[in-house]
């Protein structure tokens, strides 16, 4: 059951080979056995999960099941979940029990899925290693001395250690794709606006996008079918007709034009990752795809532009944490201003404070044009690069991350080195394009390598098709960490 694809789990539930309560219990037991070592979950509430599982069993008995009814799903602790503590990895929300559900949670609940728990993450999703969490770093199940990637590292570790059959994440600069790559999983960041941001704690609103994480492209398709959908409560939610993202999974790849950006194979890419990606490209050629060399000339500017835009938006979004309406409030203050200063100094961790300071500076009087406006112009150039590229190709393929997972602590003291982890993933966020990562081999220290696939707007079904066909002729996605 631990390695079973969602489609088969769904069939087993429908045929009463196993109940949702039994399945949920199986994963809860695994969490209680493994979580102390891996720290993938911040909150687990067996009673709540099992109550939902029993309700799913009744629904299945009545013949009213949907594809995910009874399937336990681990949710990144950034999606507010009614009656569940939702911390966003921060001391600021240590005691925040949400009075409402995020749209994504509502949709999973409506589909009959079970909330399996809330997964650990970088504080307020700011990080690429899941080390900045107030609740301690997440360990990579492939080797616990290494990071699982971030910010959705708890979801990645939960999946990699088979503590959950499916999970959610969010991706502002690579936070679904990079942990998927570093933990040997499949993860998809949809087109901006496809999944509602309602109830997803805001980091950088023009970039944030929720998406599924799973063991295969096929599982991602089933999860995206539930997650995607218009929601009037998110002002940037897109009124896009409902799609079945699994519809094209088996389409042949003959004639597929794969764009390979030369900028993503240059300096900074480690040899082991480059080699696995090259081999994956050869597999695609065997499947009938055509390789086309493309250019994304402004790619190298994506990290500088991102570290203006994302902190700017974060400094505005996180101004709501003031110790008045919810969350942490410092004790012992002279006056209101002192309460704000102390609350925010004590409630936010170092990385979050640093990003708020960057954002505050670039938006401050006299600097707006030099930083924020400049970054928005570069954002346009990056989006234009993609528009040009998609005239020549159907998908863009390259490495997800320049290296395999690094050791816990290795980059914690050097923010710039940490930021450069996301050099290949950030451009898709800036342009609002869908991107995904799938496993394509192993590199240094026998750690997983991720293959990055970027599609045009709303090309999710095609990207999932590309990934699924690759997973039909390779078995990287079926490998699991030894000794767990």
């Amino acid at each position: 059951m631990l390695n079973t694809p969602l489609k088969e789990l769904s069939a087993a539930l429908a045929q009463k080979k196993i109940s949702s309560a039994e399945l949920t219990k199986l994963f809860l037991d695994r969490i209680s056995r493994l979580n102390a070592a891996l720290n993938a979950f911040i909150t687990v509430d067996a009673e709540k999960s099992l109550a939902q599982a029993r309700a799913a069993d009744e629904r299945i008995a009545k013949g009213a099941a949907q594809p995910l009814t009874g399937i336990p799903v681990a949710h990144k602790d950034i999606f507010v979940t009614k009656g569940w503590r939702t911390t966003c990895g921060s001391k600021m929300l240590e005691n925040f029990v949400s009075p409402y559900d995020a749209h994504v949670i509502e949709r999973f609940n409506a589909s009959g899925a079970v909330v399996l728990g809330k997964t650990n993450m970088d504080e307020f999703a700011m990080g690429s290693s899941s080390e900045t969490s107030f609740y301690g770093p997440v360990k990579n199940p492939w080797n616990p001395e290494f990071v699982p990637g971030g910010s959705s590292g708890g979801s990645a570790a939960a999946l990699a250690a088979r503590m959950a059959p499916a999970a959610t994440g969010t991706d502002t600069g690579g936070s679904i794709r990079q942990p998927a790559a570093l933990s040997g999983l499949s993860g998809l960041k949809p087109t901006y606006g496809l999944v509602s941001r309602y109830g997803m704690v805001a980091f950088a609103s023009s970039l944030d996008q929720g998406g599924p994480m799973a063991k295969s492209a096929e599982d991602l398709a089933l999860l995206l079918n539930v997650m995607a959908g218009f929601d009037a409560r998110d002002s940037t939610s897109i009124e896009h007709p409902a799609e079945n993202y699994a519809r094209d999974l088996d389409q042949p790849l003959s004639g597929l034009r794969i764009g390979v950006p030369k900028e993503h194979f240059g300096e900074g890419l480690s040899a082991d990752v480059g080699k696995s990606v090259e081999e994956a490209l050869k597999e695609f050629e065997k499947l009938g795809a055509k390789r086309i060399s493309i250019g994304l000339p402004n790619s190298s500017l994506s990290v500088p532009a991102y570290y203006v835009i994302a902190p700017a938006e974060a400094s505005s979004n996180l101004s709501r944490f003031d110790g008045v309406r919810y969350g942490y409030r410092a004790s012992g203050y002279r006056d209101l201003a002192d309460m704000y200063r102390k609350t925010r100094a004590e409630g936010f961790g170092a990385e979050v404070r640093r990003r708020i300071l960057i954002g505050t500076y670039v938006l401050s009087h006299g600097y707006y044009d030099a930083y924020y406006l400049k970054a928005q112009k570069i954002r346009r150039l990056i989006a234009q690069d993609f528009a040009e590229a998609f005239k020549q190709c159907d998908v863009i393929v390259g490495p997800t991350s320049p290296t395999v997972a690094f050791r816990i602590g290795a980059k914690a003291a050097d923010p710039v080195q940490m930021y450069l982890n996301d050099i290949y993933t950030i451009p898709a966020n800036l342009a609002g394009l869908p991107g995904m990562s799938i496993p394509c081999g192993f590199g240094a220290n026998s750690l997983p390598v991720g293959l990055h696939i970027v599609g045009n707007y709303f090309a999710e079904a095609r990207m999932l098709n590309v990934a699924h066909r690759y997973q039909g002729v390779t078995d990287w996605h079926r490998r699991e960490p030894a000794g767990i």
Partner: protein, 95 residues
């Protein structure tokens, strides 16, 4: 142009984040590294490029001017640090 220590303190005050002198010194070094990275943007000529504020360029959606939310004050105030008779309590601001 590196940030001066005084500037770090000013930004922290604008952001309402308390900062000690030792922290200000440590964060100043990191911010300067980050701004060196950000400074790469200045290499490109962006004259005449329209700024991109958002991934989807669409205009804001309009809706009927009707009440869509019920009163959930009790639920929402249950998670507040300090409330009294339906009001959020903060330190006195007017003498």
């Amino acid at each position: 142009m590196p940030l001066a220590l005084e500037e770090v303190r000013r930004i922290a005050e604008l952001a309402r984040i308390g900062i000690s002198d030792a922290e200000a010194r440590a964060v100043r070094a990191q911010l300067n590294d980050i701004f060196e990275l950000i400074g790469q943007m200045q290499k490109v000529d962006t004259d005449g490029i329209e700024p991109m504020t958002h991934a989807q360029g669409s205009a804001s959606r309009l809706r009927e001017d009707a009440v869509t939310e019920g009163d959930r004050r009790e639920q929402f105030q249950a998670v507040a640090p300090q409330v009294e008779r339906g009001l959020y309590l903060v330190p006195k601001v007017i003498e």
